[in-house]
Symmetry: C3
Subunit: 276 residues, 3 copies
Amino acid sequence: MSIITLTTDFGTKDHFVGAVKGTIYSELPDAKIVDISHHISPFNITETAYILRNAYKSFPEGSIHIIGVDSELNAEIKHIALKLDNHYFICPDNGVISLLASEIKPEKIVEINIHDYIETSFPVLDVFVKVACHIARGGTLEIIGKIIPEFKKMIELHPTIGTGNNSISGNIIYVDNYGNSISNISKKLFQEVGKGREFEVIANKYTFSKIYTKYCDIVDFTLPKEQRQKDGSKLAIFNSADYLEIAMYRSNLNTVGGAWSLLGLNYRDIITVKFK
Amino acid sequence: MSIITLTTDFGTKDHFVGAVKGTIYSELPDAKIVDISHHISPFNITETAYILRNAYKSFPEGSIHIIGVDSELNAEIKHIALKLDNHYFICPDNGVISLLASEIKPEKIVEINIHDYIETSFPVLDVFVKVACHIARGGTLEIIGKIIPEFKKMIELHPTIGTGNNSISGNIIYVDNYGNSISNISKKLFQEVGKGREFEVIANKYTFSKIYTKYCDIVDFTLPKEQRQKDGSKLAIFNSADYLEIAMYRSNLNTVGGAWSLLGLNYRDIITVKFK
Amino acid sequence: MSIITLTTDFGTKDHFVGAVKGTIYSELPDAKIVDISHHISPFNITETAYILRNAYKSFPEGSIHIIGVDSELNAEIKHIALKLDNHYFICPDNGVISLLASEIKPEKIVEINIHDYIETSFPVLDVFVKVACHIARGGTLEIIGKIIPEFKKMIELHPTIGTGNNSISGNIIYVDNYGNSISNISKKLFQEVGKGREFEVIANKYTFSKIYTKYCDIVDFTLPKEQRQKDGSKLAIFNSADYLEIAMYRSNLNTVGGAWSLLGLNYRDIITVKFK
């Protein structure tokens, strides 16, 4: 039995998530449903892509991922289902897949066409769940849609490389639970462009000459305890998803704040790496 | 094995939900537990009823729904278990069921009487879970309670119909994750009273002459993109639960606000439909 | 198949929890994963201990509890796995276990040493999950670590007893979902020291001469309804976890506030019981 995951902007207070799960269990009593996130900022597909990109690969191949963000069908945004990287995705064709996996060629994409006999204002429940259960039972994509050659591309918020390969300019694409500001500059891109040169990371009015790989590497543990208080210190790090992140060591968003609030590094803000 | 759902005001930070699930798994290792919501406003049974009413029907018949909101036993509020619409509910007898399913006659109601040998300040864990596991194992209601003829009625916050069937006056009963304000005026009531007449919806100082069935229907997709910016426009809609809702198109409660905050349409506020 | 529980400060928006669950299901398709809490205040091990202490005992013996709070490996904080009270815990050796179960002797403790071949900045996913799956498959602790005699002790925030056994002085260690302020003074300690004497509870500038066992016991149900409004009244109670708590009857943290905000009883604040 396949796993069905849910990534939505429904929140967890309303009845939406419960209704979706009840409908899945009604169709597939043995389904294994996993919440990835229901706290995506409303309609934000950049956040959706960041979160799902860093979660879906942990699941077994053949898992089915429902994306319930900005999913209302309209004259321009269709619903699609696709097989990509040996996982299935069911989502609106609004560009989210291009942000999630731009470098991987999908094996098959269909435009879902079971709407003809479904009138709905809650497509995740009435359409996406039906498609997910169909796939989980071993059904093919062609049964629930017609093959299309590609999904919609969204090109905003991709990092750009400066003249002479001397810089990378990216954006903050996500602020995490600790208030850390995460950019779209990957370790891979950094290494490809930088080729081991020295560098400076510039974010707002702050500069960093080192990028850590563990948060606690900013602490010198050879010093006596009272001389090494680093809580609240800012640092640049390649985070566990291998993206360049500006963090505050052991900070607390609910009390003192995080990199986001203290350094003023919000969604879409620019972050630059200058190579020497 | 039956599904056991949880609808509570416990929040998800404290140990309460974890302890309840651990207790269920200790009694029934194969139980399937589904969270409907743990973010009900403390002690708010109107919210509880709205959320559970719109979620429970999606679950398979025979599912068991635990309601952990305002559930402390006292001299006036007893604990009940009932079978209604082929689902089981375990809850305090505080009126919540009358808000949830006033139009459906319960098949059987019992006042739970296993308290005689249970001393507890956490009845959801010590009483409701025991009753749920008993039912899940196929036990009858008579074993854990004594039959009573009816549950407590709560009459507040029901819509009223004006003289000559010329209006319906209701209240905002829920504000959802998108900040949309949802009334207790159902599509069914609207159609029964209105009989196809023209109408005006009045909420605070705003009026609406149309009720949509999809949010994006307010957008004219024949216009060029730059002329059709409707984000943040207000609209009246019958939502996916078929209740009259005042919404802001693609609004974000965390940034600009929602219908709730921008139009001043809060819990208990009045909303009126005038027929012509 | 063992249950694996998760107690973290990851929040539920980011990809962390989804990635951890996906990894567990990839290794153990039949795993039963239960969220205890993902909303621990960042890096707060006192909160972690309070929540997990009150939840883990509800789970069946043999359950495996992953603690993902402040879990980065560094020169001074190692990762440990232990069997205690017939449950397994996998966590950083930062004192959290001493707050969680100071009075129970662990059966076996190992310092996890599978890091030698794992380079990671996300140890919960890369290390703790591996250890949990190993234990769930029936593996022994010795395979994934080397036996150590004890875990780190944390001595702060334990209640102290005054001269002549005439008082107990404790601290607020947790504020719950209702805004109630919970101390580290247990009913057991209160009874052992007090031996039935009269007493006064002093918290900030407020005193209480009675400790209730049910919230609604402050209401006199023999009075007519309009004379017994107690909503918002303050009281001292032994809560369902048997700790002395200062509460506001049926209060709402989101509107009027709770004991925490209204009485000024925050994390680490002092609460004293004076016996006569």
